[in-house]
Subunit: 223 residues, 2 copies
């Protein structure tokens, strides 16, 4: 859209960005029977593709799920993983099972994000190869997420799946790694707070305990 | 900033977001002897902290490098890694060594981002624990990056370092993983294209080859 990379952003534009950042939510509740226009989907993918990537490797791949049977198979896979996780959360199992953790069946558009097989890029990833590829793909998803919120539609990143089984459903090569099921579409309303906070599952921690100077803090020391 | 999560964004606001996404660059050239005001740094960290995280684990930790000797030690570490990488890139070694790959000494503010030791969060990361924590921290960095661009200052994510050695310099616990050195500060101008494209190191690939339907493409097949 903008061609001039020297753009000077105004205070109003900065505030718009922060408004989008603050309003973005990880959505699990969608309005079923809705759709997302091709133009909107195009803008979401364009946003993702503008992401940074280490060594310019652009490791993100997007698989739009259009086939109903495939979507159903994916929903079952997610259901399996929710059960497996439930059996591991211990005393909070029943509380866990009450959470709505995915919108695979009801969202307007389901998109799988897959980390491409390693292309051998060395620049900036000699010491952290898999990590930096993952981080690049995550930046693309965050861009898409913000773009979705700016379109007033929801997006939820579901990671409750066995990556090998999801890869098999999507016919991915063995060296590729599915990292996200993005549920995208219209929502009744956006959560006021992160859904896990709203449901009493977990509290948010403030930034203050995560921001240090010159070194990791000595245990018990407040910075 | 925005308190109402039900905000309906306008077309103008959407365009502002896409303008920021398009203007963001991975910067390596900074204006030395400059500074970033505390208010701006606060907005950048606030943007980062608004990121999504799997199971709400918020695994990002930020270490602001204020000590000059520490910054110099980090710059040397990055210099070592550049040499090591140069010896592995093969025939393009001299071309590689001409690239400016970091702005550790010249940027106004250096910030290390560290992945916190695993807190045991299970929700959404039973099958991909390290991967999902990394992705969450990467989303925080992307938020910060966009916020920096909207402040009209540069940010570069340097990953040319040995994470163990950087962790030692920052006194991180063994279970923590440094993933980024963020060079932040005023720049003379933003690159028109990604610097690696501008310098002829690598071309960008178009989105079209990364967007599939229902399955990973069969080799040789155009979708």
């Amino acid at each position: 859209m903008a061609d001039n990379k020297q753009t000077i952003f105004s205070q109003g534009e900065r505030e718009t960005l922060h408004k989008v950042l603050a309003a973005r939510r990880d959505m699990r509740h969608f309005v079923s029977g809705t759709s997302v226009s091709p133009e909107v989907m195009e803008r979401l993918f364009a946003a993702a593709h503008m992401a940074p990537s280490v060594g310019l490797m652009q490791p993100w791949r997007f698989i739009r799920v259009q086939n109903d049977q495939l979507r159903e198979d994916i929903a079952r896979l997610v259901g399996e993983e929710i059960k497996t996780t439930a059996n591991k959360v211990g005393p909070r199992k029943s509380e866990f099972l009450k959470l709505k953790l995915e919108g695979v069946r009801t969202c307007a558009q389901l998109v799988a994000v897959v980390l491409a097989p390693d292309d051998g890029t060395l620049l900036g990833r000699r010491t952290l190869p898999q990590e930096m590829a993952l981080c690049s793909a995550a930046c693309a998803i965050e861009n898409m997420w913000l773009a979705a919120r700016a379109e007033n539609i929801g997006l939820g990143w579901v990671s409750l799946f066995d990556p090998q089984k999801l890869g098999a459903l999507l016919h991915c090569p063995k060296e590729a790694l599915p990292i996200a099921l993005l549920c995208i579409g219209p929502v009744q309303e956006f959560y006021e707070k992160p859904m896990l906070v709203q449901e009493g599952w977990r509290d948010e921690k403030p930034l203050v305990g995560m921001l240090f100077e010159d070194r990791w803090p000595i245990e018990g020391e407040t910075q």
